[in-house]
C-alpha cells in the first residue's frame, strides 16, 4: 500500500475549468433519471418532497390545477418565494418561466436556480419565439408533443425534454399520447434511408443535424421525462414502461388526500416500474387521488398553445 505522500498527481498550475457547457447542463438531467420531480409552492412542501425521495422540486406560486381554477395571467413566481425553497432543501430546485419571456429567465438565472422550465403551463409571452436557451448558463427543460417539437427545443438549447401532457388535469392521456408520438417517430426515423432524412427533417421542422443524431442514437440526445397528468403510482410506472427517463408530478401530489404517502409511493413506483406486485402494494390505501378533469371538458388545452 502506498502512502499518501508519494503521489505526484498534483499539478502546480490550476487546470482549465469550463462551466455551463452543454455537457454539464445535459449531465444534471442524466443524474435525475429514474426520479420524481415534484411541484411545490412552499418551503414546507419542498421539505415533504425531499423526505419522500424527490430528486428535485419545481418551485411555483400556484400548482397547475389552481392556475386552471383561478384563471388570469400566470407568470414567473416571486423570487423571494423561490429563494425560500432553495434554502429549505439540498436537492436541485427548478422554476418556471413563460414561453419566450427571456427576462423572466434572466431573473431566475440571477437567483441561482438549478434548472429553468420554459413552460406552457404559464401564459405565453411570445407567440412566435421561444427563449434562445443557448445564451443562458442555467440549463432548460421544455415540453414537447412530438419529435419535431423536441428537436426544435433542443436546437434552441434545451438540455432536457418532457412530454407536455395536460398539466393540472390528473389525466395521463395526453402525456401518453406525447410519449408514444416521440417513440413512434424515433422508431420510424431509425428505419429510414439516409437519403430520406433531408425531407423528413423538413417535414417535422427540425434541424437536419439533430435528426441525423437521433437516427444514430435511436433516442433523443437528451433526457426525456413524463409530465402533465401523472396522479398515481400506476400512472408513473406506465410512463416509465413507455420509455420515459423519469416523471414530473405537479398537482397530483399536493391536491390529493394524503400527499406524503402518495409522494413516497410515486417515488417507489418510478424505481420499481417493472414490478407489478410492488406497485400493487404501493397503490394500497393512498387516500383520494386528485379529482381530475376529463381533458374533453377543459376550457383551454395548454399543450396546443405553442408549436
Amino acid at each position: 500500500m502506498e502512502s499518501n505522500q508519494d503521489i505526484s498527481t498534483t499539478t502546480t498550475t490550476a487546470p482549465v475549468v469550463q462551466v455551463s457547457t452543454f455537457k454539464t447542463k445535459a449531465s444534471l438531467a442524466q443524474m435525475l433519471k429514474g426520479g420524481v420531480i415534484m411541484d411545490v409552492v412552499t418551503p414546507e412542501q419542498a421539505r415533504i418532497a425531499e423526505e419522500a425521495g424527490a430528486v428535485a422540486v419545481m418551485a411555483l406560486e400556484k400548482i397547475p390545477a389552481d392556475i386552471r381554477h383561478f384563471g388570469g395571467v400566470a407568470r414567473m413566481s416571486d423570487p423571494h418565494m423561490i429563494k425560500g425553497i432553495m434554502e429549505a432543501v439540498t436537492i436541485p430546485v427548478m422554476a418556471k418561466v413563460r414561453i419566450g419571456h427571456f427576462v423572466e429567465a434572466q431573473i431566475i438565472q440571477a437567483i441561482g436556480v438549478d434548472y429553468i422550465d420554459e413552460s406552457e403551463v404559464l401564459t405565453i409571452a411570445d407567440e412566435e419565439n421561444h427563449i434562445n436557451k443557448n445564451k443562458f448558463d442555467v440549463p432548460f427543460v421544455c415540453g414537447c408533443r412530438n419529435l419535431g417539437e423536441a428537436l426544435r427545443r433542443i436546437a434552441e438549447g434545451a438540455a432536457m425534454i418532457r412530454t407536455k401532457g395536460e398539466a393540472g388535469t390528473g389525466n395521463v392521456v395526453e402525456a401518453v399520447r406525447h410519449a408514444r408520438s416521440v417513440n413512434r417517430e424515433i422508431k420510424r426515423l431509425t428505419t429510414m434511408d439516409d437519403d430520406e432524412l433531408y425531407s423528413y427533417a423538413k417535414e417535422i421542422q427540425a434541424p437536419l443535424e439533430l435528426v441525423k443524431e437521433v437516427k444514430r442514437l435511436g433516442r433523443l440526445p437528451v433526457v426525456n421525462f413524463a409530465a402533465g397528468g401523472v396522479a398515481t403510482p400506476a400512472d408513473a410506472a406506465l410512463m416509465m414502461q413507455l420509455g420515459m427517463d423519469g416523471v414530473f408530478v405537479g398537482s397530483g401530489i399536493f391536491k390529493s388526500g394524503d400527499p406524503i404517502k402518495r409522494a413516497k409511493a410515486i417515488v417507489q413506483a418510478v424505481t420499481h416500474f417493472n414490478d407489478p406486485a410492488k406497485i400493487a402494494e404501493l397503490s394500497e390505501n393512498l387516500g383520494e387521488a386528485m379529482v381530475g378533469i376529463n381533458t374533453d371538458n377543459i376550457k383551454e388545452e395548454w399543450a396546443k398553445k405553442e408549436k
Binding site: 500500500m1 502506498e2 502512502s3 499518501n4 503521489i7 505526484s8 498527481t9 498534483t10 499539478t11 498550475t13 490550476a14 487546470p15 482549465v16 475549468v17 469550463q18 462551466v19 455551463s20 457547457t21 455537457k23 454539464t24 449531465s27 444534471l28 442524466q30 443524474m31 435525475l32 433519471k33 429514474g34 426520479g35 421539505r47 425531499e50 423526505e51 419522500a52 425521495g53 424527490a54 430528486v55 428535485a56 432543501v89 439540498t90 436537492i91 436541485p92 438565472q109 441561482g112 436556480v113 438549478d114 434548472y115 448558463d137 442555467v138 440549463p139 413516497k264 417515488v267 417507489q268 418510478v270 424505481t271 420499481h272 414490478d275
Partner: protein, 229 residues
C-alpha cells in the same frame, strides 16, 4: 462466492458479474461502460435481486444521494446486505458522486435530519461543495490509474455535476487517485481530492461514466479481479 479463476490463472472479463444499483440516477451509463469492457452487467433494484445475481463488483451510481437513501429505506435489508458484501465478503464497490457520499464515513452539508449511509471509507466529504448547478464544470484531471500496477498518472476528462469534494482522507492507507486545484471565489487555491482507492473500495466525485472514455471502469474491473475470492 463461486471461484472464477480460469485454468491459466487469468480472470476473464466475460466471467465477471458487475451489478449497478439502479434505485435512481445515472445507472445505465455505468452498465454501458462495463459492457463495453466485455464483463457482464445488470441493473439491481433490491436486496433480493442482489442475492440472486451474486455480483463480483457493485457500482453505486451518481444521482441524488438523499433520494437513493430514502428509496433504499423501503427495503430494510438492502444497505446492511451491501455493507456485508463489501466489508465481509470482499465484493468490490465503486461509488460515483452520490455513491461516493454513501461510502464515506463523514459527510458535511447533509439534508435536514441527516441521511443513511453505507460507509467504510474514513473520508471527510462535503456535498454540493462547488455550489449549485451553475457551478458544475468540466476539466482535465490527472489520475493515478494507468499502467499494469496503476502507478502511472494519466489525463482523464473530469465532469463535476453539483459535485461533492473529498476534503480529507483520515486513514493513511487510503490511496489518493487524484487531486484538483480548485480556485475559490476569493481567487485563493485549495487542493480537492477527486478519487480514492482502499482495498476493495473505489470512489470518484466526478463522472467517468458520462464520457466516452472507459479507462476508469477498466481500472475498477482490475480492482474487482484482484479482490475476487
Amino acid at each position: 462466492m463461486e471461484p472464477i479463476i480460469l485454468s491459466d490463472n487469468v480472470i476473464d472479463n466475460k466471467s465477471l458479474r458487475i451489478g449497478v444499483l439502479a434505485l435512481q440516477g445515472g445507472f445505465i451509463e455505468h452498465v454501458n461502460m462495463i459492457r463495453s469492457l466485455g464483463a457482464q452487467c445488470q441493473e439491481l433494484r433490491s436486496s433480493a435481486q442482489i442475492k440472486q445475481y451474486k455480483p463480483h463488483g457493485l457500482i453505486l451510481p451518481g444521482g441524488e444521494s438523499t433520494a437513493m437513501a430514502i428509496i433504499a429505506s423501503n427495503d430494510p435489508e438492502l444497505f446492511p446486505l451491501i455493507k456485508d458484501l463489501v466489508h465481509k465478503e470482499g465484493v468490490s464497490v465503486y461509488g460515483t458522486c452520490a455513491g461516493c457520499i454513501m461510502l464515506s464515513d463523514n459527510v458535511e452539508k447533509q439534508k435536514q435530519g441527516g441521511q443513511t449511509l453505507i460507509g467504510g471509507l474514513d473520508l471527510t466529504i462535503s456535498r454540493n461543495y462547488f455550489g449549485r448547478q451553475i457551478n458544475s464544470f468540466e476539466t482535465v484531471l490527472k489520475l493515478k490509474i494507468g499502467g499494469e500496477d496503476h502507478g502511472e498518472v494519466v489525463d482523464f476528462p473530469g465532469i463535476f455535476i453539483r459535485a461533492p469534494a473529498i476534503l480529507s482522507v483520515n486513514n493513511p492507507e487510503i490511496k489518493i487517485l487524484g487531486e484538483f486545484q480548485h480556485v475559490k471565489k476569493d481567487k485563493t487555491t485549495e487542493t480537492i481530492i477527486t478519487g480514492v482507492s482502499y482495498k476493495n473500495m473505489v470512489t470518484t466525485v466526478f463522472h467517468p461514466e458520462l464520457t466516452n472514455d472507459n479507462r476508469f471502469h477498466k481500472y475498477f474491473i482490475d480492482i474487482v479481479k484482484r479482490n475476487v475470492k
